[in-house]
Each structure stands twice: as structure tokens, then as C-alpha cells.
Amino acid sequence: MLNQLAALSLPTRSLAEGVQIVTLVILGLMMLGAALGVVLLPSIVYSAFLLGGVFISIAGLYILLNAGFVAAAQVLIYVGAVTVLILFAIMLVNKQQDFAPVANAWIRKGAAALVCLGLFALLSTMIVATPWSLWTGPIAGDNAIVVIGLHFFSDFLLPFELVSVLLLMALIGAIVLARREFLPEDRLVQQQGDAALTLPERPRETAALTGSTTPRP
């Protein structure tokens, strides 16, 4: 009886593992290729779109790791918010300029590549050599979202509340940093005549020209 069950369950299990391996390989290649494109492509807009590809591949890897909730959060926050935010920043900042070449730039790139390859070799040696003690007990599986909610409201309650305060601080800080500065009062009076309906802010052209470190009048 047991042998029959084992014989019945063996092909399906190996089929499932094969599908998992193939999916892992495809998603991994997509992720690494898109990440290399983010770092190496000369056009920054292509880099931003490839960054969205990296995030989607990582969401697929999360689904492969039995974490549907975090995969959904990854798609919503990273693909939906962060990539769009970066695209907006590129549109606001995008200035067609060629950076001035730095002397011996290839030494920097070569050294950085060497250090990164060495770091990868070190990490992969550590990963392969370490005897991982894999979990063999009961698993959360599809119950993961309930377990995450229990963690949030029992033993991770303080970090959960602190994250909400931090998000509020980041919201206000981003607004304060990205807002244009107000003009002093005397210039404000002069500006009232020609532009009555505009906000009393420093115009963008004059702000862009003050690149020196001298204090503003």
C-alpha cells in the first residue's frame, strides 16, 4: 500500500520540482539580465523600465517561495510606486548633458568590478560551504498572511507602529525638501503686480542659476 502510494506520488512530485527549477532558472536569468541592464545601459530611461522588470522577477521568485502576500506587496509598492516615482524624477531632472570625462575612469571601474567579483566569490563560497539546517516541521504555506498579521499585532507591534510614524516623517520630509523656497518679503511685494495668481515661490530659473555657495540675499 505504502509502496503504491509512493510510486503514485513520485512522478507528480518530481514534475512539480522540475517546474519549480525551470521557473527559478527563467526568473533568475530575467532578474540578473535586467539588473545588469539597469547598471550598464547608457540611457537612464531604459534603466528605469528594466528596474521594473527586476522587481517583477523578484515578485515571481517570492511566489516561488510560498509568499503570495509579500509578492503582491512587492508588485504594488515597488512596481507601482517606486518605479513610477523614479520615472517622474527622471522626467523632472533629465538634462541632456555629457558628463565631463574623469581621468583614469577605467581604473575605478576595473577596481569596482574586481571588488564585486571578489565579494561574489566570497559569498558563494560561504553559501555552498555552510551546512544549512533545513526546517522539517509543519509549514505555514497558504496560511502565511494570517501568520504575518499575528506577528504584526503581537511581537512586532512596536516596529509596526514606528514604521507608520517613519512613513509620515518621510512624507513630510520629502515635501519640505522638494518644495521650492519662498522669497523674502520685500521681493514678494514687487512680484505681486505681474503675477497675482501664482504662488509666492522662487521661480525655477533663478533657483537653477544660483549654483554658487554664496549665501542668498
Partner: protein
Amino acid sequence: MQLQYFLLLAAALFCIGVYGLVTSRNAVRVLMSIELLLNAVNLNLMAFSNFLDSQSIKGQVFTVFVISIAAAEAAVGLAIILSIYRNRDTVDMEQFNLLKW
């Protein structure tokens, strides 16, 4: 075993992110590299959570925290880059030496 594959993928993504962080000239690309680094760490946490701690999945909780803090970091970082661009009129990392001397 599958855990090692995920960890190797995360290590490769981390190294690519470090290379981009060090060598990029454009400030927006530096922020993208930081996002790559955070995602590599998230992948590590999720792999550990699935293979080593399958019942009380604390790695997923950590990943949710890291995702929310990364969103806050992206917003503030892009605001800083916008502010620097208004003041210096460039996004070249080589010219951001206000605090150097």
C-alpha cells in the same frame, strides 16, 4: 538544494548593485542601485524564511518592513536629488562636493 540557488541569486544581485552604486555618474542611477541592494537583501530574507523558518515566517515580516522603509527612502532620496539639481544644475555625482571641503 534550492536554498543555495536563491542565496546565490541574491548574492549576484547584491554584487551588481554594489558595482552600480560605486561606478554610476548619474544620481538617479545611484538610487536605482540602492533599490537593487535592498531587493537582494529581501530575497535573502524570504529564502531563509521559507527554508529555515517555515512555521513562524519572521523573514516575511522583516521583508514587509524593509519594503516600507525602502519606499520612504526612495521618496526622500529623490526629493534630495531634485533639490540638489535645482541648486547645482546637474546630476553628476562627481560635482556633488558641497560637504567635502
